[in-house]
Amino acid sequence: MKIIKEALAGTLESSDLLVKVMPLPEDRVEVVIQSEVMHQFGEQIRQVVSQTLQQLGLVSGQVVIEDKGALDCAIRARVQAAILRGGSIQELDWSKLS
């Protein structure tokens, strides 16, 4: 799946995150994560994000995350929502969201 239009999910409020996605001209996935708890949980957040992207089969797009200390489940849900809003997906395979 590719990101074909700009999209947004989430908020900047505490314990949430704002996920922005936009198309890239080439088949490449670029992920940028900013987090208030980067020092403590940066690695964990990165893992959750990249696992979520892999499950969705993202091959092209830029993902920018502004995290305000969200839990893993919130991160997964917001990333999924942003990708599905901006992605080229027609038929949703729900099992990929688990």
């Binding site: 700009e6 999209a7 947004l8 989430g10 908020t11 900047l12 409020e13 505490s14 704002l18 922005k20 936009m22 940028v32 900013q34 920018v64 502004e66 305000k68």
Partner: protein
């Protein structure tokens, strides 16, 4: 807690009864109602207006919250609403101007500082990689050489004056980078302006013509420039535009010299040229200075050739002098258009 605050948007052209309330909130926060805002996000607690933020295209303006509710994530809710509203209107990439003392506050809202005029104003964008990605893209187009020139032109429309400046600069440099201002608020559309520049510089060796970007002479970097046609020349924010140029654009392309034509008519452009010498050459900066080369205007029958003069003639329907002011392609365009009356 502020769970009882409702956020909604108002069209500032239609709902002016709420305008007075917004004005009061802004005054309370030492802010002025700025020009160009077409839509506001407001937060209301019962009858009381407690937060507002305006959008002028992709520029966030007039962000205010009542003092007694600060520190309770009201601003974060407000700025989240702004992000979603802006995207609905087609803008994911946002800019805002603020006093440098508020930079860390907006940092908490996902904005990153691009340039600062100390003690006066900072420009921020809502992505940590915006200017970085742009600089990297530009850097791929860098050319070797010791003297690398640059011209940024609006070319509204492209005249013999522009052509003369480009030829002169190209002859003096190892390579010349020409940028066409991208913002689409001038008399001629960006597409037309770019096409005429392209035709006008064709065949000049060692030259790259670039598309402009939001990071140079755009409504974000230089809001007032585009008001000049409307006759408003307020306080110039040209400093921000020039600081960005020196800090990011020039280093990405290795630019050492910036060429401009002297400006006999337009006060905004003249001020921009003066500011250029200050911010690119003399002002303190971590980035290397860039020499500003001001070239006297090309002259036709004792009148300096200028795009504003061409527009004036066009408005008055006087096409007789046109062939001595603009190259063939521009002339063809002007004659073949409804501009010629």
């Amino acid at each position: 807690m502020n769970d009882d605050i409702d956020f909604y948007t108002i069209d500032s052209h239609k709902n002016w009864d709420e305008g007075a309330e917004i004005q009061r909130l802004l005054t309370q926060c030492d802010l002025d109602m700025e020009e160009g805002i077409h839509v506001f996000v407001v937060g209301r607690q019962g009858h009381r207006l407690v937060a507002c933020a305006g959008l002028d295209g992709n520029i966030v303006k007039c962000v205010a919250t009542v003092p007694d509710l600060r520190g309770e994530s009201l601003a974060l809710k407000l700025m989240s609403e702004v992000s979603h509203l802006a995207l609905e209107q087609g803008h994911l990439h946002l800019f805002l101007f603020t006093h440098p003392k508020n930079v860390s506050f907006f940092g908490g809202c996902g904005f990153y500082e691009l340039a600062e005029v100390p003690g006066y104003v900072s420009l921020m964008e809502n992505t940590p990689i915006g200017i970085k990605s742009y600089s990297e893209q530009l850097h791929k187009l860098a050319q070797p050489g010791r003297k690398i020139g640059c011209i940024v032109m609006n070319a509204n429309p492209f005249t013999f004056g522009h052509q003369y400046l480009v030829q002169l600069a190209a002859a003096q440099c190892d390579w010349l980078h020409v940028f066409a201002v991208r913002e689409d608020v001038s008399m001629f559309s960006y597409r037309d302006r770019f096409a005429l520049v392209q035709a006008g510089v064709a065949g000049i060796p060692r030259l790259t013509l670039h598309h402009g970007s939001e990071y140079m002479v755009s409504r974000a970097t230089f809001p007032n420039y585009f008001f000049k046609e409307k006759g408003i020349v307020g306080e110039c924010c040209s400093a921000i535009d020039l600081i960005l140029f020196r800090k990011y654009i020039a280093p990405a392309l290795g630019i050492t010299h910036r060429f401009v034509g002297t400006e006999p008519f337009c006060t905004t452009t003249r001020k921009y040229n003066d500011d250029m010498k200050h911010w690119l050459q003399t002002a303190d900066s971590e980035s290397a200075p860039i020499s500003v080369v001001e070239v006297p205007r090309a002259v036709s029958s004792n009148i300096a050739i200028s795009a504003s003069e061409v527009r004036r003639l066009l408005h008055s329907g006087d096409m007789a002098k046109m062939p001595s002011l603009v190259p063939r392609e521009t002339l063809k365009f002007l004659s073949g258009n409804h501009y010629a009356t």
